[in-house]
Amino acid sequence: MKALVWLRENLFNSFFNSVLTLVTLALLYFSLRGILVWALTEARWSVVPDNMRLLMVGPFPPDQVWRVWAMLVLTLLVAGLVYGRLTGGRPPLWMWLGALLVYALIWPVVFPSTRFWLALALLALPAGILAGPYLPRRWLAPLAAVALVVILALPTAVNPNQWGGFFLTVLITIGVSLMAFPFGLLLALGRTGKLPVFRTLAILYIELIRGVPLVTVLFLSWIMVPLFVPEQWRLPDLISVSIGFSMFAAAYLAEYVRGGIQGVPKGQYEAAWALGLSGSQSARYIILPQAIRAVIPALIGQEIAIFKDTSLVYILGLFDLLYMALTVTKNPRYLGTDREVLLFVMFVYFVGAALMSYASRRLERAMGLGTR
């Protein structure tokens, strides 16, 4: 009975809506039937697990893949330790259950050696959170620093030209964000500041970059950057492309931060002035902390955009996730599996982006954005 009431209220509450519901249902039925029949009977989904290593790390030498695993485990462990130490919390139940579920799902399709690393990676985060509170507070910073050095050193034993797959995608996302952030901050300060030369240069830079497509900027830096270094250096494409990517991302980042800076009430500037803070001091202690806090959702949105845009390095021949996916479909054994592989790529990107926007919403709530 309740179901009937619900149906009437939500699907058939007017003549127009009833017709709309029926038409949509018919369309949905015809399209979904075809897709489901294909996905359940024709699709060769085995192509994805069979090539999982290629998709995840690309041409990374198989006997060195443990380095990537170790990076992942270390990152998760340290993140867990820091989180556990700072909040004193315990890992929630869903984290254990989720780890178990992921393990059970992936277990049958991976090699025995991978199972070991997989288990380690899944346990690292909750274990870190659990152990965090027992760690003396003053060990935290040195430990994180050492871990960071180890994490950065781990992949360097392999030539950057052999980095690939989803690993490379994540690496570019993180690297580009880290490089773009300080530059974007500087541009935003310049554009909102009082110094006319600085402001003009910032406006010129931002508008020029925002007026052209990312792929042209990537191409330009791919051509130009090698010209700036001695010829015998043989700069990896990864570096020259990442530089252009960061310069592009910085222009967009600057605009978001500018929005935040302009949203800081004028009284804050005056108060800082009255306290006798200099321009750089008031920017550092008063304006930027408030501005950045206000634009964190927008910044994470930009982070998602960078993550999605890493797929463009495929056009320049870097072995990212998309490149590896298209390589897999060219393998004679897996000819004609474009749909399966590309759907998997979309799934990976979707999960990554959805996780980031989920984190953004959590962060927004934790910081009380929009409620204060």
Binding site: N17, L195, P213, T216, K308, Y314, L322, A353
Partner: protein
């Protein structure tokens, strides 16, 4: 007093520090630019390259799969299909025209789809509401490039050959691409043509004399339509018809055949941008005070009337600036078509750079063209924005 002023050393005087800082910055930027151009120049020299735009007037010698360019055929400048004997600037122009073709079509289609989905997101119909939500979430969270390649490799490339292709109300989907009904002229056009152009001239004339005499609004419509009606009455035949594509052996006749590459790029750009436009439309509608809905319903307007007469006109003001941004994004994103081989500007540049080795000069031209497209679109949006903005309200 004089002493007190002198007591402030220049490194503590903010105005002087600011000027010093700016001078240093300017100097650094100029020096860095000089250094970069010099090293680039030396780097190119040592690789045996030379910076020159002379290649633009050399014969291109390669073919692109589709594209119209400006060419001098027998003393007349006209638009015709690009040929390998044409010059390099002509192939770039063909790419530019293809970029415009896919962008303009995409902008029209994505606006329609985006508004539909945006309104659907607010629908009281649960199914439509959830579907629109799922559409927006899925499309926004996956990269456009992957979607484009998916449409090309996994959809258009997998369509059956023309012989087995199914026809659907004049649409034919095959691995040759998408054949759609299109407007075509009939033999009567040669008689009707002059009336058609006179109608347009009349409209243009009315528009031009505005400073002297401001015609009533209806005249703008009535004048050309009247001329065309007279023309139709005299010719007594339809000058244009809708031509539907028909399968003829291995070819499609009639209608317009959109290549698989064009269709994939168009579809991907339309669907991707529409998800952003949907969010803009939804945000704008939601930002309107609830009182507007209540006032409309107390006037006895139906849901559709409220939307059409009350809500959308007001939402339009909020929508226009971000919408313009999305149009810009769509145009810039058309450069991803290089991944599926549609010969738009950037793809043509890629081939050209390969053939001539002029990567740097080429990319500078391409970036300048995109920049001017961007600036024109933002200028248009600004102009339109001032028109729809409330009179007397500061923007």
């Amino acid at each position: 007093m004089k002493e007190a002023r002198a007591a402030v050393p220049f490194w503590k005087d903010e105005r002087k520090l600011g000027m010093l800082f700016q001078a240093l910055l300017l100097l650094t930027v100029v020096l860095v630019l000089l250094f970069l151009s010099y090293t680039a120049y030396r780097g190119m020299r040592s690789r045996g390259l030379e910076f020159s735009f002379a290649f633009l007037f050399e014969e291109s010698g390669f073919l692109i799969s589709e594209g119209v360019t400006l060419a001098n055929d027998g003393g007349h400048w006209l638009f015709r299909a690009f040929q390998p004997s044409d010059a390099n600037w002509q192939v770039l122009l063909a790419g530019f025209i293809n970029t415009l073709r896919v962008s303009v079509t995409g902008i029209v289609l994505t606006t329609i789809l985006g508004v539909l989905v945006g309104v659907g997101r607010l629908s009281s119909n649960w199914l439509v509401n959830r579907l629109s939500f799922a559409y927006v979430e899925f499309v926004r969270n996956t990269p456009l490039l992957v979607q484009m390649i998916f449409w090309y490799l996994a959809v258009f490339n997998k369509l059956p050959p023309l012989r087995q292709a199914s026809e659907w109300y004049g649409f034919i989907l095959s691995n040759k691409g998408m054949a759609v009904p299109w407007i075509a002229t009939t033999p009567a056009w040669s008689q009707f043509g002059p009336y058609f152009y006179w109608g347009l001239y009349l409209w243009l004339g009315l528009w031009l004399i505005r400073p002297l005499w401001r015609p009533p609004r209806w005249l703008y419509w009535a004048a050309p339509l009247g001329v065309w009606a007279v023309g139709l009455a005299l010719v007594r035949q339809l000058p244009v018809t809708v031509s539907t594509p028909v399968k003829k052996g291995f070819r499609v006749e009639g209608g317009a055949l959109l290549s698989p590459e064009f269709s994939a790029v168009l579809l991907a750009l339309t669907i991707y941008t529409a998800s952003y436009i949907a969010e803009i439309v939804r945000g704008a509608i939601q930002s309107l005070p609830k009182g507007q809905w209540e006032a409309a319903s107390s006037l006895g307007l139906s849901y559709g009337q409220t939307l059409r007469l009350i809500i959308l006109p007001q939402a339009l003001r909020i929508i226009v600036p971000p919408l313009g941004n999305q149009y810009l994004n769509l145009t810039k994103n058309s450069s991803l078509a290089i991944a599926v081989g549609f010969p738009e500007l950037f793809n043509v540049y890629g081939t050209l750079a390969n053939q001539t080795g002029r990567s740097l000069e080429g990319i500078l031209i391409v970036m300048a063209v995109y920049l001017s497209i961007s600036l024109s679109i933002s200028a248009f949006i600004n102009w339109y924005n001032t028109r729809v903005a409330l009179v007397g309200v500061a923007r």
